[in-house]
Symmetry: C2
Subunit: 106 residues, 2 copies
């Protein structure tokens, strides 16, 4: 679903990735990470799609909430496993959303 984010400014983390073929348990871990992220203070929403290339965009109130989630212990374990086994390559971009618009207009 399209995330129901508040009026800008807020933050977006664009995580773009290509997987390896070693994906045992990947789906369960990805789902758990989404659930944990959603419980964090400052979390605003998440959007995700994979079509070969995977794109996950999570939205946050501010940089502090992004850094706190990055430092979460369970998330750190997932990040380590991601680098070691699950991702052939990835790029993470931390952005400030300056303006947005949509259709139909909310």
């Amino acid at each position: 679903m399209i995330a129901n984010t508040p009026k800008p400014p807020y933050y977006a983390v664009i995580f773009t990735n290509l997987q390896t073929t070693d994906l045992k348990g990947y789906g369960e871990m990805a789902e758990k990470m989404q659930q944990l992220a959603a419980c964090r203070d400052g979390f605003l929403g998440i959007e995700s799609a994979r079509e070969g290339l995977g794109i996950t965009v999570s939205y946050w109130r501010d940089e502090a909430s992004i850094l706190a989630w990055k430092a979460d212990v369970e998330h750190q374990i997932a990040q380590k496993l991601g680098k070691e086994k699950r991702y052939a390559s990835y790029k993470t971009r931390v952005c400030k959303v300056e303006r947005d618009y949509g259709f139909p207009v909310a």
Copy 2:
């Protein structure tokens, strides 16, 4: 593919959408728009995936190049058709990429 963007700061346009079922000619037009965007001054790259939800992130040197592309005549026609027929809903977010990191490190 993961876009090979320069060192921040630069801009990202996150376009998240849900399609209608009236998609005759959609693929061709989407492909043409990507080709035209890639020719614009200030274009840095594009990443796209659809899994029910469609996410396209295009990267740009600055706000001026984003606004110039939005005002392009052929792009305007595609935007109008998008609202009238192709998209049940969408959200466009214009963001300043403040920092990024990747794996493997380039």
